[in-house]
């Protein structure tokens, strides 16, 4: 008998929003201790529609609309985690997490250590981070550096749909407190999701970076939305004969500095690209670690950081555009480091 040809691997286009929604759906189904809470997550389907359909499917006990008090519901979530549940706590944006930051740091991050491992806090704090479009100073701050600073927390920052899905599932299954920094502008962007990534057990290990594009002349290290800008930069520069290696960090803490070091051994040049402010930022940490490690000897030029301008984000479009790194700024930095 003739055998049937195996079906071709099905790759589909999935938006980051749908990938997050799938991840939440799958984890809510898999483990009944998992639940989602936050402002507008239930009946409104989520302020950014990430939890669309989940309240209808899982009901009041698993998807909970809270009163307007970040400190309140973050505290409640931490307490629930300490008591054995696995909450996913949504902040409408991480800017509002500042109202709750004592709960995130002093209660969630430090408790495992302070209790010598007796009390775990298996919680995920997630929500949009960093700049959006036209939301000005109080809605545009990037918190990667703030949360990445604290021992006891894991901090992830996805770019693609695959990152979003794999990291959220990994975060929910992780017994540590995890801060997941999403990006509002990425929610609607479609990415290819491989068949493997579509499976219900697809997780991306926390603490491992990914090389999104191979290159030989210079290493571009970035996270979240700016990985896309780096990819565009690489395409533009490839036409000029400059091959950029683009590393998507995926995790801020624990940082996969080995991946950056291995890349620098190959390319000898480094720039970091981030949406946050320059002082005490993610790029500053990467550069410091490179200097302290073996890869320093392979650098042919000082590393350069590309960051947002050191101002609170303005509202007017022309001002906003000039406050964030653009592709032209990354190209400029590459050429400066390569001295071309």
């Amino acid at each position: 008998r003739r055998g049937l040809a195996p079906p071709a691997a099905t790759v589909s286009q999935v938006t980051v929003r749908d990938a997050l929604n799938q991840a939440l759906d799958e984890e809510l189904e898999r483990d009944e201790r998992v639940f989602l809470l936050g402002e507008e997550v239930a009946q409104y389907d989520g302020a950014y529609k990430i939890s669309r359909g989940l309240w209808k499917k899982y009901g009041d006990k698993r998807v909970i609309d809270t009163p307007i008090s970040e400190m309140g519901f973050a505290g409640i979530a931490v307490g629930a985690a300490m008591a054995g549940l696995r909450p996913v706590c949504e902040f409408m944006t991480f800017n509002f997490s500042m109202q709750a930051i004592d709960q995130v740091i002093n209660s969630a991050a430090k408790t495992c250590y302070m209790s010598a491992g007796l009390i775990g806090v298996p919680i995920v704090f997630r929500g949009p981070n960093g700049a959006s479009a036209g939301v000005a100073a109080q809605h545009s701050q990037c918190f990667a550096a703030w949360y990445g600073h604290c021992p006891g927390l894991k901090v992830v920052s996805p770019w693609s749909a695959e990152d979003a899905k794999g990291l959220l599932k990994a975060a929910i299954r992780d017994d540590n407190p995890v801060v997941m920094l999403e990006n509002e502008l990425l929610y609607g962007v479609p990415f290819e999701l491989s068949e493997q990534a579509q499976s219900k057990d697809f997780i991306i290990p926390i603490g491992k970076a990914k090389i999104e594009r191979q290159g030989t002349h210079i290493t571009l290290v970035s996270h979240s939305r700016l990985v896309g800008h780096c990819m565009e930069t690489a395409s533009v520069l490839a036409k000029e004969g400059v091959e950029c290696e683009v590393i998507n960090m995926r995790t801020i803490r624990p940082m996969d500095i080995e991946a950056v070091e291995a890349s620098i051994v190959k390319t000898n040049h480094l720039i970091t690209v981030e949406g946050g402010w320059p002082q005490f930022g993610v790029g500053a940490e990467i550069c410091a670690r490179i200097m302290e490690g073996p890869a320093f000897n392979y650098l042919d030029a000082p590393a350069v950081r590309v960051t947002s301008t050191d101002v609170p984000m303005p509202y007017a479009k022309n001002l906003e555009d000039n406050s964030m790194p653009q592709v032209k700024d990354i190209i400029f930095a590459v050429k400066k480091v390569l001295n071309i």
């Binding site: 402002e39 507008e40 009946q43 409104y44 302020a47 609309d65 809270t66 009163p67 307007i68 008090s69 970040e70 400190m71 309140g72 800017n95 509002f96 500042m98 109202q99 036209g134 939301v135 000005a136 100073a137 109080q138 809605h139 609170p312 303005p314 509202y315 007017a316 479009k317 022309n318 001002l319």
Partner: protein, 276 residues
């Protein structure tokens, strides 16, 4: 008769175990001046102010509903604020009051004469904007008109307003602060801190809460389980009242009296204006 002698509270003894039941079925009554047909119920409650009448006519006149223009912009906070809770209650607050507002009550700034041009300039973030395009739309502010620039995070204006009231008390005997917020924002920790400090520091401040039943999609049944915001006032030591926010005269009278007492007695007053 023995009396309790605790520093924390002054009360009688009770000899039966009885819990206080929160009263949400028949809670604090809603003060109104007009009935549903608009007739004044008791002549003694009628404000009878000629100027007021003129403004009432202006208020219901369609050209003044200029917030319609704001809806055309990419971002705005649609306001369900009815006329009663925006114009009238600030009408006859003769003395200068600092205003700590939030997104839904910019009409008070409009009443103070802030030009429509500047409202629109702020929303567009163009070169005419006194805020120089830094802030999102509807985040107005005007120093000359004592209207503190609006800030996005909810309820942060409450403790700030209290601080300003404290400063004003020390500087000038005849001024007050009014602070606006919604019933959802009253859930924030800042609201608790603000109320408590206003009372303990004896500040001349009027807290004006607009309760329209919803915070985006979250109904009040999920926002709180007590008798609204007015019922919290006595818990903090605030003079409290609940008014019909759609009743122009009721809001006017309540706010006027609140302001008078806030300044005369250096104490905070809480007004909860019910609306849709």
């Amino acid at each position: 008769e023995e009396k309790p002698q605790f520093p924390g509270a002054s009360a009688e003894f009770a000899e039966r175990l009885e819990f206080i039941q929160p009263n949400v079925i028949s809670g604090i009554p809603v003060y109104r001046v007009m009935d549903r047909q608009g007739h004044i119920l008791h002549p003694s409650e009628d404000p009878q102010h000629v100027l007021l009448l003129e403004h009432v006519i202006n208020m219901y006149d369609p050209p003044n509903t200029c917030y319609l223009h704001v809806w055309l912009l990419t971002y705005t906070v649609s306001t369900c604020v009815t006329p009663g809770t925006c114009y009238q209650h600030v009408l006859l607050l003769e003395h200068v009051i600092n205003m700590y507002d939030h997104l839904n009550t910019y009409c008070v700034l409009m009443y103070r004469g802030y030009p429509l041009d500047l409202f629109m300039a702020q929303c567009y973030g163009n070169s005419m904007d006194p805020g120089k395009g830094r802030q999102m739309p509807v985040h107005y502010g005007c120093r000359q008109r004592h209207f503190v620039t609006i800030s996005s995070p909810l309820a942060t204006q409450i403790p700030q307003a209290v601080g300003a009231a404290y400063a004003i008390k020390r500087a000038d005997a005849n001024r007050a602060v009014i602070c606006y917020f919604g019933e959802g924002a009253a859930s924030e920790g800042d609201a608790h801190a603000g109320f408590n400090f206003a009372a303990t520091l004896e500040c001349p401040i009027v807290f004006f809460c607009r309760n329209n039943g919803y915070a985006i999609s979250t109904p009040t049944s999920e926002q709180y389980r007590g008798d609204g915001i007015a019922a919290r006032g006595p818990g903090y030591g605030l003079l409290s009242i609940r008014v019909d926010g759609n009743d122009v005269f009721a809001v006017y009278r309540a706010t006027r009296e609140a302001r008078r007492r806030a300044v005369a007695e250096n104490r905070p007053v809480l007004i909860e204006a019910m609306t849709y």
